[in-house]
């Protein structure tokens, strides 16, 4: 099969790989570039757990051709926390018990990030709408919604404990 070169930035770093034509962004990021923060849940665009940002827009990596991301900026959860400090959304998920098994968490975080960047003070309905494409099967929607809302309020987290060392 013909190999094609793909060059993009992943969380701010220049990356390039030769891939089979038709490779999905999910396969490029996970199998070639070793970024396993995005998860493969359904590979048919229904579960949202592979949600990443391409030039700031949310994309399902399982339905996005890697070749279409050439010269674009791709963001994953791996780029959320810099220098050891957590993104406010990560801290909010931590404090609000908004992750149980953890498999849907990366997609939830990226979908929520897009929402808050466009709309820093969303209503509850806005949050529900923004997360509507992301399935959680441990039935944790309510804590997840509360976590996102707590970031927009800039309020103190519900549980007082910070992250344990």
């Amino acid at each position: 099969m013909t190999k094609v070169p793909v060059q993009l930035t992943l969380n701010g770093e220049e990356r390039a790989e030769f891939i089979d034509s038709g490779t999905t962004l999910l396969r490029l990021l996970r199998d070639k570039m070793g970024d396993f923060t995005l998860k493969a849940g359904c590979l048919q665009g229904t579960c949202g757990t592979c949600t990443v940002l391409v030039d700031g827009e949310p994309r399902l990596a399982c339905l996005t051709l890697a070749e279409d991301c050439a010269a674009k900026a791709v963001e994953t959860v791996a780029g959320l926390s810099g220098n050891g400090s957590l993104h406010p959304l990560q801290q909010a998920f931590l404090d609000n018990f908004a992750a149980q098994c953890g498999f849907c968490t990366p997609g939830m975080l990226m979908a929520a990030k897009v929402l808050l960047e466009a709309n820093p003070h969303p209503s509850r309905a806005d949050v529900v709408e923004a997360l509507a494409g992301n399935i959680c099967r441990c039935t944790g929607y309510e804590p997840i919604i509360q976590a996102v809302l707590s970031v927009s309020r800039g309020s103190a987290p519900r549980a007082a404990s910070g992250e344990r060392a």
Binding site: F36, K39, C104, R137
Partner: protein
């Protein structure tokens, strides 16, 4: 908000020294989750990884006449084609480890297929695409057989025999064709009852649908040791079953698991690991066997369908005097965990109520449906649905408030349970009192004065 109400049974409590119970604590694995760094079974870069696709039965019930894998073996990228004869101990059953037999399920089907989707041939190839293509090249000749999908039809004389390893379409317990519970004389109880209500309750199979599909990745190591990264909820059970199926000592198998992307009981069967381990042994290469979403929904074991008949005799004052339950649990084509689930249902009926005359029969039935297995409270949850709907219907029938009806019948300390055990440590009355207040569902004050410690006397 969680609150432990310590006013109930205060004199029996000895929890003053507890430090963690009742406190809100951060989960130890959440820091990994929120960074996307929790290692699920597929989250490793493994050079030279091979991929498995399974050839599955398109029939609910059929005899296998011939299997031709020659075209698949020649397909580019295919490294190995695995059939039943390659599996050292092909016919197994999961609960054999705790003495529940007979072995009744092939890892790969050879003489018959007993459900639509049953695995027959495993393709091991260098790419997923090659594996899919080669799976489509396998030729299997079948002679279709009559299939049975309804549990009561399956138990009738002359029904198609689903599973020859059992000899009949029900699991045979040491107590006979079903699990039985008897207290008093249920027919005498019905004769003395002022009202009788008999109802039938049916449930469908339910799929757990975890976001992470069932799967594993096996990496061969030094000294004949294989490392199996798996999403199983039952690491040691799966390791021991794989050891039996592959006829290799357990110390050759290194299982890394316990991190499941959702499980809910759907990842306790030993299905993908043995075949992936075998593929790695036969090729000397790392191998992934990962269900796609279709397989997760259609192939992995669901919660069993159940059919439950409940017949109750009740008095005008609300006392249930007789309860008869006949419960059928649909195992599908193979046992997996269903004999245990059906047994649990018998242990759970007649619910948390004191009834003097009880008769319970719980059957584990084989049909040509997808094998069912564990799911949160299996054998109990559907029974509770049926029981509590029945309780509401009974209350309505005699014109009583449904919550007060439950107070009348709730088991209390000293009551004889259907299983011939004297009740102790009951707290149902107190839970209902609290629920009555919280739900703003008022009951007569005399029910708020009741205590689980005072039996009906």
């Amino acid at each position: 908000m969680m609150e432990i109400r310590k006013t109930y049974f205060a004199d029996e409590r000895s929890d003053n020294g507890l430090k963690e119970v009742g406190q809100s604590r951060q989960r130890s694995d959440v820091p990994g989750h929120i960074r996307g760094m929790t290692p699920f079974y597929a989250d490793r870069q493994i050079p030279g990884l091979l991929h498995i696709r399974m050839v599955r039965s398109p029939y609910h019930h059929a005899r296998i006449l011939a299997i031709d894998v020659s075209a698949a073996e020649r397909h580019p990228g295919v490294k190995r084609v695995i059939t039943a004869k390659d599996v050292p101990h092909n016919v197994y059953t999961i609960l054999n480890l705790i003495g529940i037999g007979p072995e009744d399920e092939p890892v790969l089907a050879f003489d018959k297929v007993r459900w639509l989707g049953e695995p027959i041939v495993a393709i091991v190839a260098a790419s997923e695409r090659s594996a899919y293509e080669a799976a489509a090249l396998v030729r299997v000749d079948y002679e279709e057989l009559p299939a049975v999908f309804d549990m009561e039809e399956a138990l009738k004389p002359g029904a198609p025999l689903v599973n020859e390893y059992h000899g009949q379409n029900n699991y045979r317990y040491d107590s006979g064709e079903c699990r039985k519970v008897r207290l008093g004389d249920v027919e005498e109880g019905f004769r003395g009852a002022e009202f009788i209500l008999e109802q039938r309750y049916d449930s469908s199979p339910i799929e757990h649908a975890p976001t992470e599909t069932t799967g594993c990745v096996v990496v061969p190591g030094q000294n004949n040791r294989l490392t199996c990264y798996t999403g199983t909820q039952a690491v040691f059970f799966t390791l021991d079953n794989a050891s039996i199926i592959l006829n290799v000592p357990g110390q050759h198998l290194h299982f890394v698991g316990g991190t499941a992307g959702g499980g809910f009981g759907g990842k306790v069967d030993c299905i993908v690991e043995p075949i992936a381990l075998l593929a790695a042994m036969l090729t000397g290469r790392p191998v992934a066997f990962i269900y796609n979403r279709y397989e997760e929904m259609q192939i992995s074991s669901p919660r069993a369908a159940e059919r439950i008949y409940i017949k109750d005799g009740v008095m005008k004052d609300g006392r249930i005097v007789a309860r008869q339950v006949r419960c059928y649990v649909d195992a599908g084509a193979y046992s997996r965990h269903s004999p245990y689930g059906a047994q649990k249902s018998a242990a759970h009926f007649p619910g948390p109520y004191t009834i003097p005359h009880v008769s319970i029969d719980s059957y584990c039935v084989y049909t040509n449906r997808t094998p069912s297995s564990a799911m949160r409270g299996f054998g109990v949850t559907i029974g509770d649905f049926a029981l509590e709907v029945q309780m509401d219907k009974l209350a309505r029938m005699i014109g009583m408030d449904p919550l007060e009806f439950r107070f009348v019948n709730a088991y209390r300390d000293g009551d004889m349970k259907a299983h011939h055990q004297v009740t102790e440590g009951a707290a149902l009355i107190e839970c209902m009192q609290e629920a009555s207040i919280l739900a703003n569902w008022p009951v007569d004050p005399r029910y708020l004065q009741m205590s689980s410690r005072q039996g009906r006397g």
